[in-house]
């Protein structure tokens, strides 16, 4: 048994683009600690996310989460808000890469898009997430979902705490 993370769900649709997660208006920001205050400000109905999110809460989304821009701000603003991971059916390539490079987990969860549309997972549901197995239990309604494990290299980068650390160790080992 791995560690089980517990927190509330914040539920989003398919194709949540990076402007909805972290708007281009705030791109000049360079300090990750200042980024959570802008998270989801442009997402209709979730404008209050930044004020109300609690460390431990999860972001739950459908397909193609994080499509659009390469801005890493869109990862930082969730990571530094204390959101332990993103649960999405699929995630855009660049967002996934930015997450891995920060050691920030994104679980790919089959059927999540339909479950969201059918109301089987809702805002405020209490979730129990076991990252090591990819198991997600919605304690509010008893539904269980299964996420995919990440590949070996991505896992190694995650374990190193992100790409910078991984690269430093790799270069040192090859010298």
């Amino acid at each position: 048994m791995g560690e089980i993370l517990k927190g509330r769900a914040w539920v989003f649709s398919d194709d949540v683009d990076t402007d909805l997660i972290y708007h281009n208006k705030y791109l000049a920001e360079t300090d990750p600690k200042n980024m959570p205050q802008y998270a989801f400000e442009y997402y209709p109905g979730k404008e209050n996310f930044a004020k109300e999110v609690k460390p431990g809460d999860f972001v739950v989304a459908g397909k193609n989460f994080g499509c659009g821009s390469s801005r890493e701000h869109a990862v930082y603003c969730l990571e530094y808000a204390g959101v332990p991971c993103v649960l999405a059916e699929t995630c855009s390539r660049i967002y996934y890469r930015n997450a891995i490079n920060n050691g920030y987990p994104v679980l790919f969860v089959k059927g999540l898009s339909d479950a969201i549309k059918a109301g089987k997972i809702k805002d405020g549901d209490q979730l129990e997430v076991e990252l090591s197995t990819g198991t997600i239990k919605d304690a509010t309604n008893g539904e269980t979902f299964h996420g995919d494990a990440v590949s070996n290299l991505e896992n190694d980068i995650m374990k190193a705490g992100g790409l910078m650390n991984y690269m430093k160790a790799k270069v040192a080992a090859e010298k």
Binding site: H23, A28, Y42, S69, V75, I94, R97, L163
Partner: protein, 426 residues
């Protein structure tokens, strides 16, 4: 089994045979940043490696100030300064300051990009350099900062989709309409993690501007990289800029005839009509004929997808055919991609025609790809643009945008409502 272009490129860059799905370490030919993202990279690199740490090769770094140039705020100005000082400390000579234009286009014009080059950049539309056969990809600041350590980075070898295009565009219809059609068909996740080769007679005969337009939207379908190996006039142009080895590279990196594709699509453009992405997603596509007459407050022509000379010339043709004036009710802004493009517009007299028509003709930047730039829209306004994204509120909270070709955009500016350019060009 033969190899696709991306497999050949990754074998060259990694130094060993690859297969789809492999994670491979590739050498980086260019690690580039913009004014946004660039300061984050510099700060991250120096925080992790120390202020005195040297990048692996200053001649492989480039910085392009294009998103907010000239700086519109003290914060942006300060970020640009962080980059200028870093370049000085590191000996980086390729700093394209506020007087150059959009990064990918500037690097291309400067002869820095060759087929097979591995290019990282803090711009998700970096991959439009696939228009000349480069493997360019948009990444965040961590990827660039980590690349500075040893000039390598990791990639997954993607599956490749092939799109074959045949036929000739009718008057008033262009490459932008084709890619709008494709994104409508495939959807926002339709090319997820894939490389895409564009082939066929229409592509073989396409100009560089048309190829850049086509490749610029692959990101909006979550594609990894589009690839077109240079031929004909494009090859000649690239050889003149980037050197004679381009010819050999284009030949060697072309896909084998028996290469394996995960999906093959065919498009014939003979009967294609003008298309538009409706609010608030690039894949919400309709023919322009269905939305003609829609109220519009602002029109913008430019950006990495449609800011080349040929795009501006096409818009100019529509303007002149329509009487040389834009509607006084529509704010119209034209932004060339680079200074080279801008200068040609000035020298050929088009810039004067635009000013006489009541159009704002700006310096080269990414301009209306962000709300933090001139042309930002107030809540409730409707814009038409040739940029590549129309996510809700992208250029101003509560505003909505239609995406379309430069010809359709100019027809709309002339008529004051969304209009089909074929009605003006007939």
């Amino acid at each position: 089994m033969g190899k696709t272009s991306i497999m050949k490129i990754m074998e060259r860059a990694s130094g060993h045979p690859v297969k789809v799905g492999d994670r491979v370490w590739c050498k980086i030919d260019w690690a580039t940043c913009r004014d946004f993202g660039g300061a984050n990279v510099v700060l991250q690199f120096e925080k992790e490696m120390g202020k005195d740490a040297k990048v692996w090769d200053p001649d492989k770094l480039a910085f392009t100030f294009d998103l907010q140039a000239p700086a519109h705020s003290e914060k942006v100005a300060a970020n640009q300064k962080i980059i200028r000082e870093f370049c000085k400390r590191q000996g980086v000579t390729r700093l394209f300051d506020i007087n150059h234009g959009i990064g990918q286009h500037v690097m291309l014009e400067a002869g820095m990009i060759k087929p097979g080059d591995v290019v990282l950049g803090t711009d998700s539309h970096m991959n439009l350099l696939g228009a000349v056969g480069a493997f360019a990809t948009g990444v965040g600041n961590s990827d660039i900062a980590a690349s500075y350590i040893a000039g390598i980075n990791w990639f997954r070898v993607p599956e490749t989709m092939k799109i074959e295009v045949t036929g000739k565009f009718k008057k008033g219809v262009c490459m932008r309409d084709l890619l709008t059609k494709i994104i409508g068909d495939l959807g926002a996740g339709g090319m997820d993690f894939l490389a895409v080769e564009f082939v066929g007679e229409t592509i073989d005969n396409a100009t560089l501007a048309e190829r850049l337009t086509l490749c610029s939207m692959v990101t909006e379908m979550s594609g990894k990289v589009p690839l077109i190996m240079p031929n004909g006039d494009v090859l000649k142009w690239l050889v003149e800029r980037a050197g004679p080895e381009v010819e050999t590279l284009a030949k060697e990196l072309k896909a084998d005839p028996d290469a394996e594709y995960c999906r093959v699509l065919h498009y014939n453009v003979n009967d294609l009509e003008p298309m538009a992405s409706c609010p608030d997603a690039p894949d919400n596509v309709k023919p322009v004929s269905e939305i003609a007459g829609t109220h519009v407050d602002q029109v913008h022509i430019g950006s990495c997808s449609n800011g080349r000379y040929e795009d501006i010339k096409a818009a100019h043709d529509v303007l002149m055919a329509g009487g040389g004036k834009v509607s006084p009710t529509v704010r119209t802004i034209i932004t060339p991609a680079t200074t080279e493009v801008q200068l040609r517009c000035v020298e050929e007299g088009m810039a004067a025609d635009f000013l006489k028509a009541g159009i704002v003709f700006t310096n080269p930047t990414c301009s209306l790809c962000t709300a933090e730039h001139y042309g930002a829209m107030p809540s409730g306004d409707v814009g038409c643009s040739t940029t590549n994204r129309n996510f809700i509120g992208k250029v101003g909270k509560g505003s909505h945008t239609y995406l379309m070709s430069p010809m359709t955009a100019m027809a709309t500016a002339v008529k004051g409502v969304i209009a089909d350019p074929r009605e003006i060009l007939k």
